[in-house]
Amino acid sequence: MTDQTHAQTVLTTQDGVPLKVSISRALRRQKLRSVLLVAPLFLFILISFVLPIADMLFRSVENPLVPGTLPNTVVALQVWDENSGEMPPEEVFAALAADLKVAVAAKTHTRVGSRLNYENPGIASLFRKTGRRVKRFEEGDYTAQFLKADKKWGDVGVWQTIKQFSSPMTAGYFLAAADAQRTADGVQFKPEDERIYLFLFGRTLILSVTITITCILLGYPIAFLLSSLPLRSSNLLMILVLLPFWTSLLVRTSAWKVLLQQQGVINDTLVWLGIVGDDSRLALINNQTGTIIAMTHILLPFMILPLFSVMKTISPTYMRAAKSMGASDWYAFWRVYFPQTIPGIGAGSILVFILSIGYYITPELVGGTSGIFISNRIAYHISFSLNWGLAAALGVMLLVVVMVLYWLYDRIVGIDNVKLG
């Protein structure tokens, strides 16, 4: 009964299949085909990009070394109250001796040592030293034997660190990345003289914004000129704009140094012209100014290209129309031309800002001490300290900051308002 009434309302094909089913079937084949077409690229990106990044990000919370290498110690430490201020009981020392013997045989004790050394300097050598002795430990009174091997084992702080990092997951890297640490009174900021990451995040953002703004200020007139020139001369100019892409980093850096240093071309010229005194030469490199100049130079094309492609599409008749209605050159520019280039500014700004926020080689080379970015510390932890967990945590924070800014941008400007061409 219901079927019948249903059949009356549903359109069917000649074969009696409901029309909707037939359509979706036909479309499904189309969809499948397009999915298959993008599948290779999708897989490539997944394998070569998404998975490694996800793996790297996972390291920011992962902590397998301590529970994996010292399983008995971790269990034994559970009964010890780390806030009591007292030494752990003999069972803990015994468990550690057993764990260390296994670890020394597998040569993994120094890895735990260097992992814990990130949190408490000195543990690396403590484990290294004790590792040499533990083979000769005898049964009974492990506490005394450990203390004899190194008196640092009598430091409650060492045991607190081990207990704090005994779970397979940790927030420790993120705390460190936020200049915080866990103390007896809960999570607190580190002492003033050890805080660096939040400060660097702030500086990275401020400098990136500054670089973006200088790119807009410098790039806008150039893009305007490019878009209004005939094709032949604009192509030539475009090559000049793209030139920084084609020079190697070392050549560029040397050029900046020759130009910007205190005995460099610009200062020499200014002194020669009498604009600055010989004893008050300008510091243009190895500081924030150097970073801003060099980064603006290298990122300028990313601002100019989207601006250019947007400006190219703006017909000159808009300006003429505005003028015919009585607008002065400036008023016409500001009310008619400029608003139409905002999508270009938006696209260029996003590109420049996101690129500059992750830059580290240029700041390292010309930034001195006041011009380095958070990425320089990430690079340090990747290549020198091998503290990849902290590097990953800093990376996640940077990613979150970028996402939040992107979201804000979308809310304020609207992401549809971005045009690359």
Binding site: S315, T317, Y318, R320, A321, A322, K323, S324, M325, G326, A327, S328, D329, Y331, A332, R335, V336, P339, Q340
Partner: protein
């Protein structure tokens, strides 16, 4: 000053060259009266748009002076000329709503908010788009955008409005409708309109006077009917309307009538327009609808023609004939009862009055 208020616009010996070698506009002298609808008509590259741009102030004149209400404006920047302008592709600001577009010239003039709203509302009603004020230009159809552009050029009550091929982007039907609308607006407001187009129908339909441009020179400046009926030279005759050409030599001149012998020996009489002396080469211009297939005795010119092709067009039939060695000779035959039956390959007698045949300067 013979007229009451003087001319609205005067071009005085204006010349224009972009490269310093060739003149795009050669010695232009033109008076445009107040309230006149003047069309600059001509093929592309004839200099008509350049004239408009000089008038708007976007191109400087290389020589000569342009007057607006008797005031020289060569050194007045475009935004101080107070001239409304409608552009080919409307140039509506895409980032503003229709109402904001219309308010733009009023804001520039620092009008009060209430006055702005009043004028915008009025202008929108004038072009029958009262409901569309809050839309973006991209949400309107081509015809609607065109109306907004016209309204925007008029909203600040300029004395003079320039229109640069404003209907070029519309389809035929819309274009015709817009022609009437613009014409009516002109009649109602009484502004001076200088209108540039390459479409002769548009020019003939709308204008008080038409200036036909070619090669940087005004070939003829007259009312639409005069332009059609009495072209001053071969270019105008060919450019405006359909036209049969017959080449020959002047053999005699009697007052306004001259005798012309064609290459095949045919002798014809024609209205002497643009020939000077016996022996001059001339091109005779003859409108297809002025030729009769049933020639009456009073017609001075009667010749034999061979029908090459008949094209049925409903209200009339186009007959392509070979007349006096010209195989592209077109005759329009009204489609009415009692007309003689025609067939391809037939030889018939055709004729026309000497006054309908203009002896003009030779072509080619």
């Amino acid at each position: 000053m013979t007229t009451e208020r003087g001319a609205s616009v005067r071009f005085d010996k204006v010349q224009k060259s972009y490269d310093g070698e060739t003149l795009v506009v050669k010695d232009l002298n033109l008076d445009i009266k107040h309230g006149e609808f003047l069309t600059m008509l001509g093929p592309s590259g004839s200099g008509k748009t350049t004239c408009l741009m000089m008038l708007a102030g976007f191109e400087p004149a290389s020589h000569g002076e342009i007057f607006l209400n008797d005031r020289p404006i060569n050194n007045v920047p475009p935004h101080k000329r107070g001239v409304g302008m409608v552009f080919q592709n409307y140039a509506l600001f895409p980032h503003m709503s229709v109402a904001e577009n219309l308010a733009f010239p009023l804001q520039v003039r620092s009008l009060g908010k209430a006055e702005q709203q009043e004028k915008v509302k009025h202008a929108l009603e004038m072009v029958e788009l009262g409901e569309f004020g809050s839309r973006r230009p991209a949400q309107l159809s081509g015809g609607q955008q065109q109306r907004v552009a016209v309204a925007r050029a008029l909203v600040f009550d300029p004395d003079l409005v320039l229109m640069d091929e404003p209907l070029g982007a519309l389809d035929k039907q819309l274009r015709e409708q817009m022609q009437y609308e613009i014409k009516h607006i002109h009649e109602n407001l009484g502004v001076t309109i200088v209108y540039v187009t390459h479409d002769q129908t548009e020019a003939l339909t709308m204008s008080d006077r038409v200036a036909v441009f070619n090669d940087g020179v005004i070939q003829q400046l007259s009312s639409p009917d005069a332009l059609y009926e009495t072209p001053q030279n071969s270019f105008v005759a060919q450019f405006i309307g359909e036209n049969n050409k017959l080449s020959g030599t002047v053999t005699a001149i009697n007052d306004n009538i001259c005798d012309v012998r064609l290459a095949d020996g045919t002798e014809l009489k024609a209205d002497k327009v643009n020939v000077n002396a016996v022996g001059d080469n001339t091109t005779l211009s003859l409108r297809p609808e002025r030729i009769e297939i049933a020639a009456v005795d009073s017609m001075e010119n009667r010749v034999k023609g061979h029908i090459e092709e008949l094209i049925y067009l409903g209200d009339h039939i186009r007959v392509r004939m070979n007349v006096a060695g010209n195989p592209e000779f077109i005759v329009k035959v009204r489609n009415r009862a009692g007309e003689q039956k025609l067939a391809e390959g037939q030889d018939i007698q055709i004729g026309w009055f000497a006054s309908d045949c203009k002896a003009l300067d030779p072509v080619g």
